[in-house]
Amino acid sequence: MEMVNSIRPLLAVMVSLCAVPLIAAARKPNVREMWTFLAAALKFLIVISMLPAVLRGSQFTYTLVEFLPGAAIRFKVDALGMLFALVASSLWIITSVYSVGYMRGLKEHSQTRYFCFFALALSATIGVAFSANLLTLYLFYEMLSLATYPLVTHHQDREARQSGRKYLTYILGTSIGLVLPAMLIIYHLTGSLEFSSVGLLAGHASKGLVALLLFMLLFGFAKAAIMPFHGWLPAAMVAPTPVSALLHAVAVVKVGVFSIVRVLIGIFGTDLLFSYHLSTPILIVASITILAGSLIALSQDNLKRLLAFSTISQLSYIILGVALLSPKGMTGGILHIAMHAFGKITLFFCAGAIFVATGKKNISEMTGIGRRMPVTMAAFFIASLSIIGLPPCGGFWSKWYLVLGSLEANHLSVLFVLLFSSFLNACYFMPIAYRAFFLRPEESMFEKGVQEGPPFCVVPLVITALFSIFLLFYPQPFLDLATMMVRSLGGT
């Protein structure tokens, strides 16, 4: 494995941070949006410029400042980080297009603030993706929590205030109360916080202490919305839809899951988890979250809330896959970070497009909406297939690997959870498509013929839906990165 010292990871993080003052200072909305697009495009290019080398097995590192021996602010681009950064930075471009359509379509207030904090949030996300150690990860994790607070509470009304409070309570409460002490205990035990491919803790801590640390980190990264720390996610749905789309289907929640995957692999190490039989409790927690999330989603009428619970359940697939500790299962889990992102962002885009075009938020009011917005609803249907895990969508791959992984690890109960949850996914997604296309609209408002949302909203969701299909036939970059990551762990 070749280590390349390069400033590129830092640039990838900084580019959107540097765009913040430019966005804030821009006088005309078009100039402001230009800065956003420029930053997004640059960020994507920087990330993708590292892809070929990473696929060849190199790693990029950059140390910003060494604050204590073993505790530095350091970046490292490996396969896992690359996969996540690729997803986040590519979807930022598309979401920016969508944001313009959505925010202007609804004539939202404080758009400058919105775009500023959005750029800030993306810096933090890439920072998490490229963190070389737990300290750096924690730094950007907290930065993301704070940068998304003004986005979640964008509407500045009573409901936004309540949700914002809930958001911070869950996210900051757990990160300060659980992650921070866990990090310091790990540092005290091992003298290091660097993620390694074999884990840090082996030989440094007793089983009880490892279990305690595992508990603190698993629940401490509450952005992963593992039950019972999931309550903030449905509440955060008060945010404007593009925020929900990118942050609550992709960036924020995936940062939580990514952090957990990182510490499971890089701090605990798969061998240690295996030898202490600690994967079972993780599997149980993840399974409960998967099933409970899906069951709650069944009873939701508000489309965005339904998607939120669906996200809660899907996030735990990733944890589940990694906790299987079998190569195929881990590949499936990591791959699900990417596959779920493209599917779920499409679903949120659709929900937002429907809201912009018709003002409807509830599924019960969407009877026959497929006649009015056929493109949007077709994309919705495709994305639901991807989430359920059916061909012709990319989601099939991650489910396939997860199922194989559960067989490989000989966990038949996990197999059952996966299949039953897929069935539940179908149960809550298919009626929406059915209602949209096959039921006769009751109100006259849908009789006006085709009336889609603004093009800025529709084009992005078509792109992401097509991408979901494309990923079935060409999952390579993500699949390769996931397999590479798993292979680099050796052992198991």
Partner: protein, 497 residues
């Protein structure tokens, strides 16, 4: 010239204070420039001195050429070199930032204000620089008396009483300290720190030395507002003029923490304090109590300035507790937190000063819509708040890092929990204000400009220093590793594990 830095650092502002006092009869507008010049010189000397100490090691200055232990010696090592830089920089920044406030608040009396201000800073510098326990007492009294006077200049109805309360408790505290050094003098016949330190070890087990230690500590703890001896602080700092609060709050308590550290390191020596006496655990538990109670009391406040004063009470607990953990990590954290807390408190109180300059009221209900009215001030306030919470990369995170690491190493999990608890309470405290300022619409009656919703930022002379302080929160945070290795690690005594 460089040779005389230790004494110039005190005498220049001391003489300037008298010049300012005289000038206030002649030409009021000259008071501020003279104060600026005096404190500017102090900053220059302090930084020069710190570099000198880094180059040459300990710098000594003997007053009037009298050799210690007969004469008064000024002795500067890295610890007080750092303190001098903190004190002079904070004082200078605050002087510039609050000039407009002072002119507005004391149109007739700003000569008086500046005289007291410069004298106060002189006292703090003297406390930091001196190597003589009695000289320290004298300078402590200078500092305290000017602080009483500065506080009494505040709100006409409440400040005098708050100041009087402070006078009573502060004087009792000073008496304790004086008694303590009296006992030391009886036992050793010396007042020079280094001399006492060399004479004490054979008589460590004497009851008189124990009493001296206890009296000194009680006195110092009173002056630094260590819970439960904090009762004078909240009212005094709340009702003091804004321009005075933002210099007294960041410096007074921190310098007293320095005095505690100095007494342990250079007078009683760590061997006595940590091994002969078994007192460190008691101090750590008291510190936990201070942190928890300070946080809880802060929660019950409705006024932003009072809330911040209770946060100081809790932060004092951080430093005292960290120091008495007795290991390198904890002590580094405590000393680093002196620096960080000074910057943080300065940032918060300057922001509050700006708000008070424009809005006049500091109860929570008057802060509505403030993000729209004063975006830059509020941004700096949020930065200070994040540092108090301990969000990386602000400096508050890094001192908390050392303190918690120290607690883990010492096995003092209670202290770790207290620190985490206080961080979480700080989240509530600051986000409660952020919520009010961000969500609630402005009330027309406190819109002084009449233009609803327009920006009414404070003038540039107030904003620029505030922003510099806010940015330094992050800069100091990022370089805390270097600060600890170059400035703090060398001053920790060898025996500390």
């Amino acid at each position: 010239m460089t040779h005389n830095f230790p004494v110039l650092i005190v005498t220049v502002p001391l003489l300037s204070a008298f010049i300012i006092s005289g000038l206030s009869w002649v030409k009021k507008s000259l008071c501020f420039p003279v104060a600026l010049l005096a404190l500017g010189t102090s900053v220059f000397c302090a930084i020069g001195l710190l570099f000198r100490v880094l180059d040459l090691g300990v710098v000594e200055y003997h007053m009037g050429g009298w050799m210690p232990p007969w004469g008064i010696a000024y002795r500067v090592d890295l610890l007080n070199g750092l303190m001098l830089v903190i004190v002079s920089l904070v004082a200078l920044t605050n002087l510039v930032a609050t000039h407009r406030t002072v002119v507005a608040d004391f149109p007739e009396k700003h000569g008086t204000f500046y005289t007291l201000y410069v004298l106060f800073v002189t006292g703090l510098m003297g406390i930091s620089v001196t190597g003589d326990v009695f000289n320290l007492y004298v300078l402590l009294e200078i500092t305290s008396l000017t602080a009483y006077a500065l506080i009494a200049l505040g709100q006409p109805d409440r400040a005098p009483l708050a100041s009087l309360n402070y006078v009573f408790i502060g004087t009792i505290g000073a008496c304790f300290y004086l008694l303590g050094i009296g006992y030391l003098y009886i036992m050793t016949g010396s007042l020079n720190m280094a001399d006492i330190a060399s004479l004490l070890p054979p008589i460590y087990h004497s009851k008189a030395v124990l009493v001296a230690f206890i009296f000194c500590m009680v006195g110092v703890c009173t002056k630094m507002a260590f819970f439960p001896l904090h009762v004078w602080l909240p009212n005094a700092y709340t009702y003091a003029p804004d321009a005075a609060t933002s210099v007294i709050a960041p410096l007074m308590t921190k310098v007293m923490v320095y005095v505690m550290i100095r007494l342990v390191f250079s007078v009683f020596l760590p061997d006595f304090s940590f091994h002969v006496l078994h007192i460190s655990h008691a101090f750590v538990w008291l510190a936990c109590l201070a942190i928890v109670m300070g946080s809880l009391l802060a929660l019950s406040q409705k006024n932003i300035k009072t809330m911040l004063t209770y946060i100081i009470v809790s932060e004092i607990g951080y430093m005292v507790g960290g120091f008495w953990l007795g290991n390198r990590l904890g002590m580094s954290g405590a000393i680093l937190h002196i620096l960080n807390d000074a910057i943080m408190t300065l940032c918060l109180f300057l922001a509050v000063g700006n708000i008070s300059y424009k809005i006049r009221e500091l109860d929570f209900v008057h802060l509505k819509g403030l993000f729209r009215k004063m975006p830059i001030t509020m941004a700096a306030f949020v930065a200070g708040g994040l540092s108090a919470i301990g969000v990386p990369p602000t400096c508050g995170f890094f001192s908390k890092w050392y303190l918690i690491s120290g607690a883990i190493q010492a096995g003092q999990y209670g202290f770790m929990l207290a620190l985490l608890f206080s961080s979480l309470v700080n989240v509530v405290l600051f986000f409660r204000i952020i919520e009010i300022a961000y969500f609630e619409p402005m009330e027309p009656h406190n819109d002084t400009t009449g233009l609803k919703g327009s920006i009414i930022e404070a003038p540039l002379t107030m904003l620029v220093p505030l922003l510099i302080v806010a940015v330094s929160l992050v800069v100091v945070g990022i370089y805390s590793g270097d600060i600890v290795t170059t400035l703090i690690a060398p001053i920790l005594p060898k025996g500390i594990g």
